[in-house]
Symmetry: C2
Subunit: 340 residues, 2 copies
């Protein structure tokens, strides 16, 4: 496995693609390679892009990738990896619909790497593997990693939260349900984008987004020694298909990176992301180990009792925790269970 990690560090895209597949499959070979790569990670700017379906996130991501490759301000080009997280299914073969467009726009540029991840229906699976995939890309040396999620559910928001900078993308007037979702994700936005700003109703939507931003108090990062600087999420209107507003958006992205480095937020987000990732891994590992420590058939028996309503889920939990071959320190009753 040393070889795989070294090939990735040497810039092999083929090795990188193989590594990402191993990580997605939670294969021990992927873990071993990531162990070797991990010291090289921690340098990239992770940018999450989330928001309502139909807001044009894919087009926006493509434009951002191109803007990083050919900066309008004459700064040196930066390498870009795109991770598209997609709740797709065997039904469609897992292809992301925007991929064809994306390929046409960005393929042939060795400074761009694109990876689609499908959720395949397992709760927590993506939450467990996405951070590792992005870490691998980070270690592979990409300057910028764009994490795009399809949809605006809770999982997507959690995935976007991995990032240093979270961009929430909306489009003009998309109905009441969208408004409800908007409220849920607006508060995580570092930068708010109204895309498709040439559509009817754009003025109204801009006005109501601005009002919502003013309602929300500014988010603060972990406090630094003195009074920390405060970031007020800007609202940017774009028309991604015509490349309009992209330069302004890039300006805010750079400003946010500067802000994070000054405020200590860069480290705070890195730490909270690593903690979340570790806890996801721990939960899964503890459950598996714990289950394998139970006598054969006991778990099925408890499930049977549960289904027959002889015991409740909480009683089943306590019985199972009491019976497993657990050490003294684990046997603290329900009080330890309910405080973290």
């Amino acid at each position: 496995m040393t070889t795989l990690a070294e090939e990735v560090l040497a810039g092999s895209r083929l090795a990188l693609a193989r590594l990402l597949t191993l990580i997605e499959n939670e294969d021990p070979q992927g873990e071993a390679a990531l162990d070797r790569l991990f010291p090289h990670s921690g340098r990239a700017h992770w940018i999450g892009i989330t928001g309502s379906p139909g807001a044009g996130k894919s087009s926006l991501v493509n434009r951002l990738a191109r803007a990083f490759r050919q900066p309008a301000d004459g700064s040196p080009p930066r390498t870009v990896a795109i991770v598209a997280v997609d709740p797709s299914s065997p039904f469609t073969g897992g292809a992301l619909l925007g991929d064809r467009v994306r390929m046409r726009d960005l393929s042939g540029d060795p400074g761009v790497f694109i990876r689609s991840m499908a959720s395949r229906g397992a709760l927590g699976g993506l939450a467990r593997t996405t951070p590792a995939v992005v870490q691998a890309l980070d270690a592979a040396g990409f300057d910028v990693i764009l994490i795009e999620t399809v949809g605006a559910g809770q999982s997507e928001v959690e995935i976007a939260r991995l990032a240093h900078t979270i961009i929430v993308v909306e489009a003009p007037g998309m109905g009441d349900d969208i408004q409800a979702i908007k409220a849920g994700i607006l508060e995580i936005a570092d930068i708010l984008v109204l895309n498709k700003a040439d559509l009817p109703g754009a003025e109204n939507t801009l006005r109501s987004l601005r009002a919502m931003l003013e309602l929300g108090s500014p988010r603060r990062e972990a406090p630094a020694e003195n009074e920390p600087p405060v970031w007020r999420p800007p609202l940017v209107a774009t028309i991604a298909t015509q490349n309009e507003g992209i330069a302004e958006l890039m300006k805010h992205i750079r400003a946010h990176a500067d802000y994070l480095r000054q405020s200590g937020g860069w480290q705070a987000r890195d730490r909270s992301r690593l903690q979340t990732q570790l806890e996801e891994l721990l939960q899964a590992a503890l459950l598996r180990r714990w289950r394998s420590s139970l006598p054969d058939g006991r778990y099925q028996q408890i499930l049977g009792d549960l289904q027959a309503r002889r015991i409740s889920p909480y009683q089943a939990l306590h019985d199972l925790l009491d019976e497993a071959d657990l050490p003294q320190s684990f046997q603290r009753g329900s009080s330890a269970l309910l405080t973290s």
Copy 2:
């Protein structure tokens, strides 16, 4: 707590609302009451309603509730609880937008109970508490429980999966992103609904939904003794605001309940739901207990090493598992960790 459970069983709506709040807050008093109530659960028909934002799920749920209360076929009215799961936020105060309409339509009927649940941003929180909330409503004696999710993310799909019968609701032509989401949730549909069937493009959307249904192989429940019956998800066009198509939808809902009882699917879904719920509870409990078994400060130290890239997340995982006061049966190295 005996009192609370008994009040709920005696039909007190106030006690029920209090119990649900305790459960949502993961309060031990809620657990204790649910222990007492659990033997009374397992009778209700759990119906999940999910699908794209803007598809009109709330209106449809209201119509279904009314149809169960006043069956068109002359069958006895059934009591209905509605659980609306909403990714809302402190930003809006957590109010579900459809609630005002819902209240106007359904309030004053003691046979209907409505509960909104907000996700409050914690990954896994809703997945852990929603089943218990629905179980409490089940034990409280409601015949039908409608579980409505806002949005169509992975969490929403998992929540819908709790149900015996899963209804996926779409609306005509909502763009490419919606198509991608559609593919992800279509395969879990027991009944597929095209709502707002009077909108332009309805014919096209019906055609493409029908094509997707034909592509998908029929889902099978746990096999019975002989060849099990097969359920082919029907496609129903509705206009919820005008009550059109609701009678046909009700017919399919009843047919699906009959099918589940004949095929053994009713028990299979109940069992898989209880297993998932137990595993969610176990994961959280094991993580908390495990963390409290570590020496003070050790967890923070590991997080520091992780952030400094001195160790990788997988190394941190193995170190932590090795160091905790874990019994022999837990010390099986990474092979036990990677097989379930």
